[in-house]
């Protein structure tokens, strides 16, 4: 028996010694349980064994599969680990025993299996990885439902959620995957006959899998995974081995279009082909030096055809090249196209015979790309509108040719006197003239110039001079030479000129794009971005440019536009198509509207009043314009995405805070509620049995706790207003004395045993604040002081002016703050450590600081000399305190 492995999954027989080569993984892959994966695996393993490999098997579930038992009879088995738990458990694989045994190939059924608790790895596929690491090759089985990435799809298809899955990377990186397939009908048959080996526990849940619809879908999923795998292998193989050639794996069509009106038909036909074969398709227009001669109508037609293709779902591209066929083939290879689709050219057959046709050249390509020719029905009988553009200078070309010949004759005159014999030199001069005419005005004028040249040469310089000898052979010969040589030189020169022009255009296009990209990359402000889009497009196209951004309701507005133009812009925004000047949507306006389209749709509309009204008929310019628009759109979209993600972060943060608030509050709300409910229910239940003192105590509890609840809710309301940003101080000129008095009045009862020392100067100026809020601040600070200081200790309240600020300090003689506490007290839900009074929610001081800061003031806390705490409010007085003309108002009153 040959010792060399014939299968890539078999390790070299000599790999046992020396450094450990990594083992290979082979997966037997199927659509569902019961397709015969395990059989296929055991079968393959037996073959390997007969080839001389050292094959051992791990645990295999042979219940309901007596025939499998028979197959396994002569295979060595790793002893199964004893069940760690009682009950019907699946046999566990003993990794250590396998590593000790170290076979060449190990069979490890059911890769997705979850190991029993206490084993080295939680998952069997992790065992497998260790085996591979140790140089043991593994054969294993897997069904598509166990792939992690398709888990949810499987759930949708079958209603079954599998919890045992395998990462896709295992599948993707397996050295070999063998598909084990079975038709859904056969599989269903086996299911009905109870031949599918399933644990009893899952028998019922798997019912969703064994329906015809599910099985077909699963099978398709399996085949697709296989196909993807095969394709990616092909791709890497192709890149490694033959970069120049095209490998037909997924069909990709390259559709070439011409300026002909029938190009649309080609595009439509190509689309049908692409749909039929699920192929990708690219529609290409090849720009050659000759494209320069196209009429505006033809240019427009090319452009419209490309747009049509785009609408039909094609990728469109403009390629530049000297030779259409060569450019197409080159591009096809580059893009890995499998087929080139062209329309039947409308040229006369004789031209093809002489000059060779593009189609011939395509068909003869060496890259092995198929060529499909779409036949235009009318194309052969009716010529399309002349595709050569009659340039306005054409007739003048004939006239000017006469001038060129005349100049040649004048130059030749002194030459003919000086150089003898003069014939050849003079003929050369005429030849030069013809070449120039050919270069400047094309073939017609050059023929005309040749004829004139020959006649002039005959008349002026061939003896007998000043007579037309009209020697037939001489005339014909010279004429032919002039025509041929002149035209060859001229067309070469023309070609160079055109290439230079194209190169220059490309250069401009690239520069414009580069400039735009760079400008946009430099800014992250939307307004700047829009400005730069406008300035870049103006730089490239001239005229007036405007970018319209939609508002939150996706409406556009611009004062500079008429309502009709604005309506067009709105249409463009909503439909994502071009409109206006030169398009087929509302072309009557002077403006051209383009959508700024990015991945998520139209983000803005560009309005352009071009300097050249023919702009929409220049496809290359339009393509540049669209590219610039696309760049702009991407930048705007990127900006929007950045802002959205910021907003999302902020709202997530807000949500987090809200959750903290909720969880804390629900606790703080429930505590008083519990007391109230408890007291009230005991009064309800056994009120009459309780002595009246006890009853009063319960009632007092209810009252106090309700009070606490009220304070909590009040503060919560304030916190919510502060955090939602809804708090806008309603400022008015207020008297501090009055507000302090109001707060003290509210706390009258609780303050009965406290001395409150007030130092508020009578001439203290008014301060511009929201009276309700500031009174609440003072109230909360006093209440807080009441809570945290021993009863009977005094409070000191002082107010003073300091320049344009008002200071209000509330001081106590309590325990003061511990280290670091004086700042923490303002945090939400902070509870003082030495509270003996009823606790609040820790919101009162948070509210105070929020209110003060809403006024542009500060609230800070510090320890007082000789013990106690001080809370100091500093508020901007808010301008000049209003002067009161007391005398005036008294008089005024007196008069009233």
């Amino acid at each position: 028996m040959e010792q060399q492995p014939t299968n890539s999954a078999g390790p070299p027989a000599s790999s046992t010694a020396g450094e450990k080569a990594r083992g290979k993984l082979k997966i037997f892959f199927g659509a569902a349980p019961g397709v015969g994966k395990t059989f296929a695996m055991v079968d393959a393993a037996r073959k390997r064994r007969t080839e001389g490999h050292d094959v051992v098997t791990g645990p295999l579930d042979t219940r309901r599969r007596p025939e499998l038992e028979a197959l396994l009879a002569d295979l060595e088995r790793i002893p199964v680990r004893g069940p760690a738990t009682r009950g019907p458990v699946r046999p566990e694989f003993d990794l250590d025993a396998a590593l000790l045994r170290r076979p060449q190939i190990l069979l490890l059924d059911d890769l997705a299996h979850t190991n029993a608790a206490g084993l080295r790895h939680p998952k069997r596929w992790q065992d497998m990885q260790e085996l591979l690491q140790e140089g043991v090759s593994v054969y294993t089985t897997l069904n598509v439902m166990q792939l992690e990435s398709v888990n949810d799809i499987v759930t949708r298809i079958t209603g079954v959620t599998l919890h045992e899955t395998v990462p896709d990377s295992i599948f993707d990186e397996a050295d070999e995957v063998e598909l084990v397939d079975m038709t859904p009908d056969d599989l269903l048959q086996r299911w009905r006959e109870g031949k599918i080996p399933l644990a009893d526990a899952v028998q019922k849940t798997m019912a969703g899998v064994f329906r015809k619809g599910s099985l077909i879908a699963l099978r398709e999923l399996t085949l697709r995974r296989m196909a993807e795998r095969v394709e990616s292998q092909m791709e890497s193989f192709r890149q490694e081995h033959a970069p120049g050639e095209s490998w037909p794996v997924v069909e990709r069509l390259l559709v070439a279009i011409s300026p002909s009106p029938y190009a649309r038909r080609v595009v439509r036909a190509a689309r049908r082909m692409a749909m039929r074969s699920h192929a990708q398709w690219i529609v290409a227009y090849v720009e050659t030096p000759e494209s320069d001669e196209l009429s505006p109508t033809d240019r427009d037609r090319v452009y419209q055809t490309l747009r049509l293709a785009e609408r039909l779902g094609a990728e469109t591209v403009t390629i530049t090249g000297d030779d259409v066929a060569r450019a197409l083939i080159q591009y096809a290879v580059q893009r890995n196209a499998t087929r080139i689709v062209v329309g039947k050219p409308g040229r006369a057959a004789w031209r093809d015979r002489f000059f060779g046709s593009m189609v011939d050249e395509l068909i003869r390509n060496e890259a092995g790309i198929d060529v499909t020719i779409i036949r235009g029905q009318l194309e052969e009988t009716t010529r399309a509108a002349p595709s050569r553009w009659r340039r306005p200078g054409r007739w003048s070309g004939y006239l000017e040719s006469i001038g060129v010949v005349a100049v040649c004759s004048l130059l030749a005159w002194p030459l003919s006197l000086w150089i003898k014999p003069s014939g050849a030199g003079v003929a050369m001069l005429y030849l030069l003239g013809v070449a120039l005419v050919a270069m400047w005005w094309g073939i017609g004028p050059s023929l005309w110039a040749s004829l004139l040249g020959v006649l002039a040469f005959d008349f002026f310089f061939t003896p007998p001079r000043f007579t037309l000898t009209l020697n037939d052979s001489f005339l014909v010969f010279t004429f032919l030479v002039m025509v041929v040589v002149g035209n060859v030189i001229g067309s070469l020169a023309l070609r160079i000129k055109r290439q230079a022009a194209i190169a220059q255009r490309h250069e401009q296009r690239a520069t414009a794009m580069y400039q735009m990209t760079r400008d946009l990359a430099e800014t992250d402000k939307l307004e700047t971005m829009v400005d730069r889009i406008v300035s870049n497009i103006t730089a490239s196209f001239g005229g007036e440019v405007m970018v319209l951004l939609p508002d939150d309701d996706r409406r556009l507005s611009a004062a500079a536009l008429s309502s009709a133009d604005l309506a067009i812009a709105q249409w463009v925004l909503e439909h994502g198509g071009m409109a206006g000047l030169g398009t087929d949507v509302l072309p009557s306006t002077e403006l051209l509207f383009l959508p700024l389209k990015a991945d998520r749709g139209t983000v803005a509309v560009l309005a352009l009043r071009p300097r050249d009204r023919n702009l929409p008929h220049h496809p290359e310019l339009m393509l540049l314009l669209e590219t610039l628009c696309r760049h702009g759109a991407l930048a705007i979209e990127h900006d929007a995405l950045v802002r959205e993600s910021q907003e999302a972060r902020m709202s997530a943060e807000a949500e987090r805070l809200q959750n903290i608030l909720l969880s804390s509050v629900s606790h703080d709300l429930r505590t008083p509620l519990a007391s109230i409910t408890g007291a009230a229910s005991s009064l309800l239940d056994s009120g009459s049995k309780l002595e009246s003192a006890k009853q009063m105590e319960l009632v007092a509890t209810i009252h106090d706790e309700a009070d606490r609840l009220n304070r909590l809710v009040t503060n919560l309301l304030h916190v919510t207003r502060l955090e939602s940003g809804a708090l806008k101080p309603n400022k008015d000129w207020q008297s501090v004395e009055e507000l302090v008095g109001a707060a003290l009045n509210r706390l009258d009862k609780s303050l009965q045993d406290r001395a409150v020392n007030l130092r508020v100067p009578p001439d203290l100026s008014l301060v511009s604040v929201d009276g309700i809020l500031l009174e609440q601040v003072i109230f909360n600070l006093l209440e807080n002081a009441l809570k945290y200081t021993p009863s009977g200790t005094p409070f000191d309240i002082e107010a003073r002016e300091d320049g344009d600020h008002m200071h209000i300090a509330i001081a106590d003689r309590g325990p003061g703050f511990g280290p670091g506490e004086s700042e923490k007290v303002f945090e939400k839900f902070f509870q003082g450590g030495h509270a003996n009074a009823a606790k609040g929610a820790g919101l009162g001081l948070t509210v105070c600081r929020g209110f003060v800061e809403a006024h542009g003031g500060t609230l800070r806390a510090y320890n007082r000399e000789a013990g106690g705490a001080v809370f100091e409010i500093v508020l901007p007085i808010g301008g000049k305190s209003p002067k009161i003309d007391l005398d005036f108002s008294e008089k005024n009153n007196g008069a009233a």
Binding site: A706, N710, V713, T714, L717, N730, D732, W733, Q734, S735, E737, E738, L739, V740, G741, A742, L744, N745, V756, L758, V760, P762, L766, G771, I772, E775, I797, P882, I884, L886, S889, E890, N892, N893, G894, A896
Partner: protein, 229 residues
């Protein structure tokens, strides 16, 4: 005859509370669970006091105040929740007589009802007593003399008028707007800081400790009230 009190309130618990607590205090309770029914019952039963919740399910509480005022001068006591500061001021300016913020205590409510009843009686009698007395404060309206605990106070015209307005409606809240209207007439509504300054002066003359006033109580954001014990 016991005074009739109309309670316009959609919350059944509050209605139940008053149903239990008011009759023993010598009041007859009428109930309406929405604004429309409140307006109708006022017309039908002519209650002595209306207790009106501002957050009604059908019509705005302020609208109820207006519709009641079109027909009668029945004192209206407004119940407002916290955060409805502007609503209660609007209700007061629209003709409501007083307010209480929920949650309120029963003694407070009873005190307000009594103040309202007293004012209604006085307005009905309108005998223009020449001497008004609240606690230690006495105002002789004919002589324009104010004494506190027997000592005469030297008040300016504005101070006198402020005090007079408050004493005439002792125990009732007077909004800034109402106060200015009373003092300077409806066409001379000035900035509220004028009031604050006059009030501070008045306190300094009237109160022992102007920062902890006994009589001249500030209701932040609403107005002033003369406290009666």
């Amino acid at each position: 005859m016991t005074p009739k009190i109309l309670l316009v309130e959609d919350d059944p618990q509050i209605r139940r509370l008053l149903r239990v607590t008011l009759p023993p205090e010598g009041f007859t309770l009428l109930e309406a669970e929405n604004g429309e029914s409140g307006v109708a019952q006022n017309a039908e039963h002519n209650p002595d006091v209306i207790i009106l919740d501002l957050g009604l399910p059908d019509i705005d509480g302020i609208e109820v105040v207006r519709r009641v005022r079109e027909k009668s001068a029945t004192p209206i006591l407004v119940l407002s929740a916290r955060g409805q500061d502007q609503d209660k001021v609007n209700a007061l300016d629209a003709g409501a007589d007083d307010y209480l913020t929920k949650p309120f205590s029963m003694p407070e409510l009873l005190a307000r009802i009594r103040v309202a009843l007293r004012h209604a009686a006085r307005t009905a009698g309108e005998t223009a007593e020449s001497v008004l007395t609240v606690g230690e404060i006495q105002i002789d309206q004919v002589r324009r003399v104010v004494t506190v605990g027997g000592h005469e106070l030297a008040l300016t015209a504005n101070e006198y008028l402020i005090l007079l307005v408050l004493v005439r409606q002792a125990g009732k809240v007077i909004t800034h707007r109402q106060m200015m209207k009373e003092i300077w007439g409806p066409n001379n509504i000035m900035e509220t800081h004028y009031l604050r300054v006059f009030m501070a002066q008045l306190r300094r003359k009237l109160e022992k400790d102007p920062a902890r006033p006994r009589y001249l109580i500030t209701e932040p954001g609403v107005g002033y009230r003369l406290k009666v014990d």
